[in-house]
């Protein structure tokens, strides 16, 4: 994907994106737990700075926005909890309970340092 982005950008043009990633330096067990708790696409093959640079981008800046990620996830859980009856009627109680449990696992993984979210900005040379 990053190489495709590089190709379609004009020279010197910027790329900026938010991404959830598994924290660096985790044990294999914690890495597995992070992948299990994180969103479906989350992976831990390499740092995003390395991936972005390997795709030919320059001037890579990585900002950690994990605190905002935790706050957003926490608010999502709280708001869904307040609408539990309506959501149960809309999607079914089993699916509602399963979804809330999944979000709580993800929030625990964020607070436990297993998952992080970044704002990455860079440019095509």
């Amino acid at each position: 994907m990053l190489r495709a982005c590089n190709r379609v950008l004009k020279p010197g043009a910027p790329l900026a994106f938010y991404v959830v990633a598994v924290s660096d330096g985790l044990s294999s067990g914690d890495t597995a737990r992070a992948i299990e708790a994180g969103p479906p696409h989350v992976d831990a093959r390499a740092s995003y700075r390395e991936l972005v640079e390997a795709a030919g981008f320059v001037d890579v800046e990585v900002v950690d926005v994990t605190d905002d990620y935790a706050a957003t996830m926490s608010k999502a859980i709280r708001m869904r909890g307040e609408a539990s009856v309506e959501l149960g009627e809309l999607i079914g109680s089993d699916r509602y309970v399963e979804g809330q449990a999944s979000r709580r696992r993800e929030l625990d993984a964020i607070r436990g340092g297993l998952l992080r979210r970044f704002l990455i900005s860079t440019a095509r040379p």
């Binding site: 994907m1 990053l2 495709a4 982005c5 190709r7 379609v8 950008l9 004009k10 020279p11 043009a13 910027p14 790329l15 900026a16 994106f17 938010y18 991404v19 959830v20 969103p39 696409h41 989350v42 992976d43 995003y48 926005v65 905002d68 990620y69 957003t72 996830m73 608010k75 999502a76 708001m79 869904r80 609408a83 309506e86 959501l87 809309l90 999607i91 979210r117 704002l119 900005s121």
Partner: protein, 182 residues
């Protein structure tokens, strides 16, 4: 695989709810020579089945559910979006992208993995830039196309894998995505 959905310029007519673009409109647009005209011109391709879209049936069901008032209320409270978004991106975070990307009228932005258009359409509406959205789930793109029209945003919504962007080299002034990369 390319599965063009629509190409709608500011103030133009909607081509209709079907998946095929209006060929007469495409021919008219091909007469132009700017970057956005070129991006529109790739709609001149017979729509083909997008095999990977079959893997996203859950997404299609998700987008239908997001139109329920309770889901919209929750989304607005959590992120400030009302697009049926599945990303964690808040309105403040979206506005931060606009600044980083230097978006302005005359610029062309690509938002890939765009879902139903958050935050790409918001960015285009607030900065005046033109917009191309790409994603695989068709239901989200249909909603994005409708929202682009409602918000008078110039651009296109294309069903395509981000790894195989069916777009010409060096046409975009900026690229973004939210919680998509792997």
């Amino acid at each position: 695989m390319l599965y063009p959905l629509s190409y709608e310029g500011r103030g133009s007519q909607v081509t209709g709810p079907g998946l095929r673009p209006s060929w007469s409109r495409v021919r008219r647009m091909r007469a132009g020579g700017t970057a956005i005209d070129h991006v529109r011109s790739i709609a001149d391709t017979e729509p083909v089945p997008c095999e990977s879209s079959e893997l996203f049936g859950d997404f299609d069901a998700y987008y239908r559910i997001t139109e329920d008032p309770v889901m919209r209320r929750i989304e607005c409270a959590v992120t400030g979006s009302d697009y049926g978004a599945s990303s964690n991106t808040t309105r403040d975070e979206a506005d931060r992208l606009a600044s980083l990307l230097g978006l302005a009228p005359g610029k062309l932005l690509l938002d890939f993995g765009s879902g139903a258009g958050w935050p790409g359409i918001h960015l285009a509406r607030t900065t005046g830039c033109a917009l191309v959205l790409t994603d695989v789930p068709l239901e989200g793109l249909r909603r994005a196309r409708r929202r682009m029209w409602e918000e008078d945003v110039s651009g296109a919504a294309i069903a395509a894998s981000a790894a195989l962007l069916p777009l010409r080299d060096a046409v975009f002034d900026a690229v973004t995505s939210s919680d998509v990369f792997c």
